[in-house]
């Protein structure tokens, strides 16, 4: 069995035997995945499977830490101490999710420093949803209800992902996300039932966040570049369009209970399909934001880089102190 940090290697002196070994390992891997067994860090896995997981887990981790920004934007202005405590706890959870996920990526041989470097240099992405601004307090509610709601719809199936450490991290992440989603719903409910100005604030936030939330499931199945192989590997369990439909069907009755309107005139129940029909998504906006032209792309990555650069001396100090401490220990040993 390969260790977590060992790439798939074939012994250089025995090419024929190694080829046979690889084939055997590959079929054992395929059989394990087909039988819904978990792949663990020390198990052999194809290079492409490892690379796909690192890419996906890193993007997820980056989304957690970039996603702290639009919500942290309201911590200092939260309108009651109870709401302030909830929001702080939520933003803290996101930092915690970032930690679990970077750790999950490390089990595949990646390093957090390297992944952060790729985020800061634009070589790895984070969820485009966080390139939209939080303009009012109601946006905190809309992010919880819609953005976290969409994230849960995406992530619950990941609890059964074939890669063990990622699946286990997702179990914990989903529990906390479910709390986040409920607080968002409850925040919007308070606004919707509040004064006229509060109700208008809630409706405006839902109007702005609805379509970007639907885009969170990624491009339509026909245009999704990574989907097919990920389904075979059981990293992904459902298609983008299936999950999007599931999300719409969940949201419609919740919007009614909230007394808020989803901004889609074409949204209606389709008796025949037993699902809601909904309007066409403006994919040109999705691609444009993904390419860097969203309202906050520059702002988010600039703040992230600044925090990292301004913290460099702190990390250097911690490393220098740790080195001194171990020297001292050796000297006294």
């Amino acid at each position: 069995m390969a260790t977590a940090h060992q790439p798939l290697t074939t012994a250089p002196h025995q090419p024929a035997a190694a080829a046979v070994d690889t084939a055997a390992l590959e079929s054992a891997f395929d059989a394990a995945v087909a039988a819904d067994e978990r792949i663990e860090p020390r198990d052999w896995m194809p290079d492409a499977y490892r690379a796909t997981l690192v890419r996906q887990i890193a993007q997820h981790a980056h989304s957690e830490i970039i996603g702290m920004q639009p919500e942290a934007n309201w911590i200092t202005r939260a309108p009651s101490l109870r709401r302030k405590a909830i929001l702080m706890a939520k933003v803290q959870d996101e930092a915690g999710h970032g930690l679990y996920l970077y750790s999950a990526a490390e089990t595949l041989g990646a390093s957090r420093d390297d992944l952060l470097d790729k985020l800061h240099s634009g070589r790895q992405k984070y969820s485009s949803i966080f390139n939209y601004p939080t303009l009012t307090w109601a946006d905190v509610g809309a992010i919880g209800w819609l953005v976290d709601g969409a994230a849960i719809t995406n992530q619950v199936p990941l609890c059964r992902c074939s890669y063990g450490p990622y699946a286990r991290a997702m179990v914990r992440v989903c529990k906390e996300e479910s709390f986040h989603q409920r607080q968002g719903y409850e925040l919007l409910l308070a606004l919707s039932n509040g004064t006229e100005a509060q109700h208008a604030m809630a409706q405006d936030a839902v109007d702005r966040w609805w379509w970007p939330s639907l885009m969170m499931f990624g491009p339509p199945d026909a245009e999704s570049s990574h989907s097919e192989q990920s389904m075979v590997w059981k990293i992904k369990r459902h298609s983008n369009d299936e999950l999007r439909q599931r999300f719409v069907d969940i949201c419609v009755p919740q919007a009614e209970s909230l007394g808020l309107t989803l901004p889609d005139p074409d949204l209606k129940w389709n008796e025949e399909r037993g699902q809601h029909d909904f309007g066409a998504i403006d994919w040109s906006e999705f691609w444009s934001v993904l390419k860097g032209n969203g309202p906050c792309n520059d702002q988010r990555i600039t703040q992230r880089r600044r925090a990292h650069d301004e913290g460099a001396w702190v990390r250097e100090a911690a490393a220098a102190y740790a080195a001194k401490q171990s020297e001292r220990k050796e000297a006294t040993a």
Partner: protein, 258 residues
């Protein structure tokens, strides 16, 4: 400017909690509650800006503990949201130390070191009294022990890390020293051994700074302007700006529920 502390006048527009006619325990709850509320707010400003992911979690955790303490204490003195959001600057009773802006990470750690050592000792004493605040103190002292440990560990790392971090940490410790004397002033409703508090605080801080290769500042611990001032409702310039941000949304929707 004069060395005489300002009289404890609440701003005329301040609702409820005017310490002069409130029972002493309310005055104490307000003072300690404001400390926790204001420092929690300052720590909350770090969210998304911390030097390393682990510190995002740690600073938010300390902020949440303090906010939890603030909510219990302010509720003892009145309505927590009215007190937090509808008082004017001059009606707040927190130490000036906790309202000081974050500065760099070393500055934040110096502030946290001074305050956590104080809060740990103060809650420790308070927990052993018959005060109505004793149950809160007994619970909070366990949280604060972690805050103190966190601040001490970072003081060591920064003080005894690199030349650059040493310089920044010394600067933070020096800059905030003048705000530390106020912690040992009298507070109505708090029956504490203030001499012991000062002595133990000084011993602990001196010990930690020494281990961190830092110099204990020599300047006065309170100045003509700062003596007892925060507890009397006299604050520093950055505090008004902090409150403006904190209170703006709540005040924009009078009477609304959130």
């Amino acid at each position: 400017m004069t060395a005489t502390p300002m009289p404890p006048t609440a701003a005329p527009s301040a609702p409820a909690a005017t310490p002069t006619d409130a029972p002493a325990v309310h005055t104490a709850a307000l003072a300690l509650g404001d400390d926790a509320l204001v420092l929690s707010h300052r720590l909350g400003e770090w969210a998304g800006h911390a030097p390393v992911l682990e510190e995002e979690v740690a600073l938010a955790n300390i902020a949440l503990d303090l906010l939890g303490q603030a909510r219990v204490l302010l509720s003892l003195a009145g309505d927590e949201d009215e007190l937090a959001y509808l008082r004017e600057e001059r009606a707040f009773r927190n130490l000036q130390l906790v309202e000081q802006p974050n500065g760099d990470f070393a500055h934040t750690i110096a502030r946290q070191l001074y305050f956590s050592v104080y809060q740990n000792l103060m809650y420790g004493q308070l927990a052993a009294t018959e005060s109505a605040l004793a149950p809160l103190a007994a619970k909070a002292v366990k949280e604060v022990a972690y805050h103190q440990d966190h601040a001490e560990q970072w003081t060591l790392r920064l003080g005894d890390g690199t030349a650059a971090s040493h310089e920044r940490m010394q600067h933070g410790v020096d800059a905030l020293w003048r705000f530390t004397g106020e912690m040992f002033g009298p507070v109505a409703g708090l029956d504490l051994d203030r001499d012991a508090l000062r002595e133990q605080w000084t011993a602990r801080v001196t010990d930690v700074l020494g281990k961190a290769t830092l110099t204990v500042p020599e300047g006065p611990q309170s100045g003509a302007w700062t003596a007892g001032a925060g507890r009397e409702g006299l604050h520093t310039e950055p505090f008004g700006r902090m409150l403006a941000e904190m209170q703006h949304l709540h005040r924009s929707h009078p009477g609304a529920s959130w």
